[in-house]
């Protein structure tokens, strides 16, 4: 099965950026919303420690692609593997694509941290409870150890004094940083960020981006869907541009932002620059 999976992946994906096994391998992801195909066979490989930023116009499928990784969004074709292990769907011995059982799926999801646009903290739990709930109940980490780790993470995102607060008492930026800490508390192999600053007041965006930048510097493998072009330029190892359910262009940020290869990217960046030039 291992062989079948790897064969399938290597057939469908571009040559990997590095020789070692990729941390994330998506191949041929296809998804329809009714008659509308929103992902048209997308393949993406992310190396360990790589920070990939996905940009593109609204409705291009960026968020959907991200949510397909841990099957928050179902898809009709393609497979995903995280660190070589299938998640969501796998290819069985007869080469047939199968959906994982709920239990296996839950176990696989532990390794994928995701931060949402709308924070999605649990409103009935304190900040600390939000962070330790899954490590304690899902991974079986002793409470004392989980809380110590949670405090470290809160210190990292600059919220040491907020552990007893309920989410509703926090600003959007603070909630989003708690959400980042909550995802990190599971020690994921890869972190996904789904337009995490889009719902924030402009002056709160910086604190969240700073936490993410720190994470990238520490070598976390991450995929960031964002409209923050400056973040893409400064932090990304690779920028992926999506449009119409396809990856149109990908490359180093300096190349992408200064000399895009396709007209579509040039046009997108020009429109973006026109809007945000002061």
């Amino acid at each position: 099965m291992e062989n079948t999976l790897n064969d399938a992946l290597s057939l469908a994906t571009d040559p990997p950026v590095v020789q070692q096994r990729p941390m994330l391998a998506m191949s041929g992801i296809a998804k329809w919303f009714g008659a509308n195909q929103v992902l048209k066979g997308v393949s993406l490989t992310v190396a360990k420690g790589e920070a990939v930023v996905v940009i593109g116009p609204s409705g291009s499928g960026k968020t959907t692609l991200l949510r397909c990784i841990n099957l928050l969004e179902d898809y009709e074709d393609g497979i995903v593997a995280v660190d070589g292990e299938p998640i969501g769907y796998f290819v069985d011995a007869r080469g047939k694509r199968q959906r994982m059982g709920e239990r296996d799926l839950a176990a696989a999801r532990e390794h994928v941290g995701i931060v949402f646009q709308s924070y999605n903290l649990f409103p009935h739990m304190t900040v600390l409870q939000n962070i330790v709930a899954a490590p304690i109940r899902v991974r079986g980490i002793p409470r004392a150890k989980a809380e110590a780790r949670a405090r470290d993470l809160l210190a990292m995102v600059g919220l040491t004094d907020k552990e007893q607060a309920y989410p509703v008492r926090l600003s959007g930026g603070q909630q989003q940083r708690v959400a980042i800490a909550r995802a990190l508390a599971m020690d994921p192999k890869i972190m996904l960020f789904d337009e995490v600053t889009s719902a924030l007041d402009p002056e709160l965006v910086g604190e969240v981006l700073a936490a993410m930048q720190q994470l990238a510097r520490d070598g976390m493998t991450m995929i960031v869907v964002t409209h923050e072009m400056s973040f893409a330029r400064d932090v990304a190892d690779r920028v992926v541009f999506m449009d119409g359910g396809l990856i149109v262009e990908e490359g180093k940020p300096e190349q992408m932002f200064t000399a895009p290869r396709t007209d579509r990217v040039r046009q997108f960046l020009k429109r973006y620059n026109d809007r945000y030039r002061l």
Binding site: F116, H124, R182
Partner: protein
């Protein structure tokens, strides 16, 4: 006071009736709630056949007046050979009847949670039972609390119907006393007052629960 004083020991009789009403309601509310939660879970997560069966059950329960159901079961039960003391027969009817309404309150609570809460729980690798227990239920029950409490109040008042099938409780006790004393106004005022006290206490408890559950909101 002259009109009430001679009736003092009759009021004591009403108190005992109220005790019976409370006992009956308490005995019914527990299975009603458990069954209500179960029906709600089947409605939200069950397979299609199970969902249809629950839906049919809800329509039947909601479409029949409780009084008709009570009378029906009262006459039907002996024919089926099931030998159940009338008290427990009535408690079961109340439980099955109110479970249908309670399940709708719980279902609404579960469904009104944003999809985002499910997403967050799933993404943390929580298996379904854990997700339900620590993320969904605490929030869903808070949302379901007001309609649930009002259904409990309804259940208490509905016990007054069981006097029709010959069970003794507050309403039956009142009628007996009225036959003896010929003072319907004073006696039923007393009965109404007792019903009101029970229901008002329930409502206050509901408010307290709501306030306590509002932590973090």
């Amino acid at each position: 006071m002259k009109t009430f004083a001679p009736l003092l020991h009759s009021y004591w009789y009403l108190f005992r009736g109220a005790g019976m009403t409370l006992l009956m309601a308490s005995a019914a509310v527990v299975p009603a709630t458990l069954l209500g939660v179960l029906l709600a879970l089947v409605q939200v997560f069950g397979r299609r056949a199970a969902r249809s069966a629950v839906l049919a059950y809800l329509f039947i329960m909601r479409g029949i007046p409780l009084l008709v159901l009570l009378t029906f079961v009262y006459y039907l039960l002996p024919l089926t050979g099931i030998d159940l003391p009338p008290f427990w027969g009535v408690v079961l009817v109340l439980a099955f009847y109110y479970a249908a309404f309670m399940s709708e309150a719980f279902r609404a609570g579960i469904l009104s949670l944003p999809q985002a809460q499910w997403d967050a729980a799933k993404s943390l690798g929580m298996p379904r039972y854990l997700m339900l227990r620590i993320v969904i239920f605490p929030q869903a029950l808070r949302l379901a609390a007001p309609p649930f409490i009002s259904l409990c109040v309804n259940l208490v008042k509905a016990t007054s119907l069981v006097s029709i099938v010959g069970l003794w409780e507050l309403t039956m006790a009142s009628r007996e006393v009225v036959e003896r004393t010929l003072a319907p106004f004073q006696i039923f005022l007393g009965a109404a007052f007792l019903y009101f006290c029970i229901c008002y206490a329930l409502a206050l408890y509901g408010k307290y629960l709501e306030r306590r559950a509002l932590v973090g909101h």
